[in-house]
């Protein structure tokens, strides 16, 4: 008896729906083992992860605070991923977006103009797009691999951030600590409700999601993009430009990541500081795949990951879980999901080894 891994003729719809649940179930089982080994309370841990985030209003708003940037960036990345353009540097594009937007309150410290915030939004978007454009240019002109370029550009973006914070943009009253001034209220998004950090910037991911859904599902351009990625030469014969796909998907991601970075500094952080991305640029890759690169799937995936993150923070405090255990749990879900997802397009089949007829030997 032999097991064979073979491609299915059609995607399995059952597996498509079951994959996330299988992933969660396996992660939960493995986590239980981990928790027993760590001697941590199992029920309290799962309560922290999956129930506590919904137990009060503040916590729910915090879920949406995390949900916003994850959703925004993941939607943009998924468009590129469907076109087989692997932008894994959204983190860097986010940093540059935040830097570009921060220029406004840093240079107009005393301004109370109502134009501060709109200017920051525009600059944030342009900053992210400019950073992504470097990768698009190198890819289309020199065929430089965008995986490497976008990743390396993230390191450069961080160094630029550190340079500005330690040098020209340092808060003059901040005792040399690497951070800018606290932004004035006019440079911050107003909170949606008093006493919470969730602010009006949550509108961006929602609008962006609708736009991406319309583009990918209803627009010819979305189809061209996917074909350009799947079969560049076929797309070429059909008159679709693969260069346009590269530029389009990278600029879209830069735009989204730039807005996300801007929303962080003009939102919960309120200044430009060293750690400002919360790793959204990387987590969004997970979200995009967890959502099967589908605009609607991504909404659920982003929400799920946001809950998992808020739950993780609760678990740190309430269940005394070490942060590494939280990361392991979050990582397990992704790995199990991707493994389960393989069965959407493939299946395992039991095959009987073919027995050699004796006659073949004797003759």
């Amino acid at each position: 008896m032999q097991l064979r891994f073979e491609k299915r003729l059609h995607q399995s719809k059952i597996m498509l729906l079951a994959a996330p649940f299988i992933a969660i179930a396996l992660s939960v089982v493995l986590s239980c083992i981990l928790l027993v080994v760590l001697k941590k309370p199992i029920l309290l841990t799962f309560h922290s992860f999956f129930i506590a985030p919904f137990e009060n209003f503040y916590s729910i708003t915090e879920i949406f605070l995390k949900f916003g940037p994850l959703l925004l960036i993941a939607q943009a990345l998924a468009v590129g991923f469907r076109a087989k353009i692997w932008n894994i540097g959204a983190e860097g594009q986010m940093v540059i977006g935040a830097i570009a937007a921060s220029a406004v309150p840093v240079y107009f410290v005393d301004s109370t103009s109502g134009w501060l915030l709109p200017a920051m939004i525009v600059l944030g978007a342009l900053g992210g797009m400019a950073w992504a454009a470097i990768a698009a240019f190198l890819r289309t002109q020199f065929n430089a691999n965008e995986i490497l370029v976008t990743l390396m550009l993230t390191s450069i973006a961080l160094q630029l951030l550190y340079f500005l914070l330690l040098g020209p943009w340092k808060d003059p009253m901040g005792f040399n600590f690497p951070q800018t001034v606290m932004f004035q209220d006019e440079a911050l998004f107003p909170a949606l409700f008093s006493g919470v950090r969730l602010n009006v910037s949550i509108i961006f991911p929602i609008l962006f999601t609708i736009a991406v859904w319309l583009f990918m599902e209803k627009h010819y351009g979305g189809y061209k993009l996917v074909v350009g990625g799947l079969a560049p030469s076929a797309a070429g014969y059909a008159g679709f430009s693969s260069k346009k796909a590269v530029w389009g998907s990278l600029l879209l991601a830069g735009f989204a990541a730039g807005i996300a970075g801007m929303s962080e500094v003009a939102g919960p952080i309120g200044q430009l500081q060293r750690s400002m991305t919360s790793g959204y640029g990387y987590s969004a890759i997970i979200v995009a795949y967890l959502g099967a690169l589908n605009p609607i799937g991504i909404v659920f995936a982003a929400f799920f990951l946001a809950v998992l993150h808020i739950g993780g923070d609760v678990a740190l405090v309430s269940a005394g879980l070490p942060i590494s255990a939280v990361h392991i749990f979050q990582g397990m879900i992704l790995i199990f999901y991707l493994s389960a997802y393989a069965f959407v397009n493939y299946r395992l089949r039991v095959v009987q080894p073919v027995t050699q007829p004796d006659s073949a030997v004797s003759s």
Partner: protein, 359 residues
């Protein structure tokens, strides 16, 4: 009573966090938030060791909730909020980067007390605390002067913030009080924890001729190990790393936060916690120098001891004039002393330090 409860509930509602297990009257819930793993050495380790004294004194009457290795940023704010929501009445925020989030939380929760490491903002219930490391570093400078042959000392340092600048100045002043020909080189690596960078920087300093190393605010023993491997004496801050340099360990400028933490928690329990800038040194038994190398000459040891007593008693101050800056200009005249405020915000190096201060 009902009014009081209502007020308290209102405050919690403003903080808008769930009160899961409101602390019972007998037990003080303490939240401790740390930027790095507690590990066996370093910054977070020293903070937790200080809190252990609180535990030793109050036993079951205090309950700690320690969350370690939390990056500064929006997530840290959420975790602090959660600690308060879970009933923490006293919070130790272990990193400068928790300042703005911590301060907001403190203002929303006026009945809770906060101590915050390395910051500069104060509120009625929010005390920033910092050690006068420069006092201990001055003594280390004297010991370094006794042992150096090249007359070049090297410092691997985290961020160019006043706390660390003043420490390097103290080290340099101590060394040059023994031998004015000594010079100091500094490499800023802009990280509290970057073993590879710390190691490379230490090697670069040695290659440049330094034969004594100072690991300034590094949460890794990298610099200390490099010293041992290359036969250069080395010292560090916060907690002893002697095991990483058994033969070349000059000593440690230790921070013993226990006296301050115990006093703060006692004040909170007595209901008279008052936010103030807590700047603590040898006088407060917070800065302690120990694990001295046996290679230091007996004569120098006596001198160091004498100086230590003078500093601890307040008779002598590290920043007594005359003090000259790198440009050779006199900043503090003979007979006067640099004010505390000026040291807390210091942005200049003393004469004898070769490296320019990053601006």
């Amino acid at each position: 009573m009902i009014k009081k409860i209502a007020k308290r509930l209102a405050t919690v509602a403003v903080a808008a966090v769930m009160v899961q297990n409101v602390a019972s009257a007998e037990t003080l819930e303490v939240g401790i938030l740390l930027p790095s793993p507690i590990a066996d050495v370093g910054w977070s380790h020293a903070l937790v060791a200080g809190m252990d004294a609180v535990k030793a004194k109050h036993g079951d009457k205090v309950n700690f909730n320690v969350v370690e290795n939390i990056q500064e940023g929006p997530d840290a704010d959420r975790i602090m909020n959660k600690m308060v929501g879970d009933g923490a009445e006293f919070l130790l925020l272990g990193s400068f980067g928790y300042m703005n989030g911590g301060l907001k939380l403190a203002k929303r929760n006026p009945e809770r007390s906060f101590v915050h490491a390395s910051g500069y903002k104060v509120a009625d219930n929010f005390s920033p605390f910092t050690a006068k490391y420069y006092e201990g570093a001055y003594l280390m400078g004297m010991a370094a002067a006794d042992l150096t042959k090249t007359k070049k000392l090297g410092v691997v340092s985290a961020f160019a913030i006043p706390e660390l600048i003043s420490t390097i100045n103290g080290f340099t002043l101590g060394a040059r009080s023994v031998d004015p020909e000594i010079t100091v080189d500094v490499i800023w690596i802009n990280s509290w924890f970057d073993p590879a960078k710390a190691q490379d920087s230490a090697k670069a300093l040695l290659a440049n001729g330094a034969d004594i190393l100072f690991s300034n605010a590094q949460d890794t023993p990298s610099v200390v190990s490099v010293g041992e491997e290359n036969g250069a004496y080395v010292f560090n801050l916060n907690s002893s790393m002697k095991e990483y340099a058994p033969t070349k360990y000059l000593g440690v400028v230790k921070t013993d936060w226990a006296p301050f933490f115990v006093a703060s928690v006692d004040a909170h329990l007595a209901g008279n916690f008052e936010g103030a800038n807590q700047w603590l040194g040898m006088q407060d038994d917070v800065v302690v120098v120990e694990d001295w190398s046996d290679d230091i000459s007996a004569e120098m040891k006596d001198k160091i001891k004498a100086k230590q007593d003078e500093i601890a008693s307040g008779a002598v101050h590290v920043y007594d004039g005359p003090l000259t800056n790198q440009a050779g200009e006199e900043v503090v005249a003979a007979g006067s002393r640099l004010e505390d405020g000026a040291i807390l915000g210091i942005d200049w190096h003393v004469e004898g330090i070769n490296s320019p201060l990053p601006k």
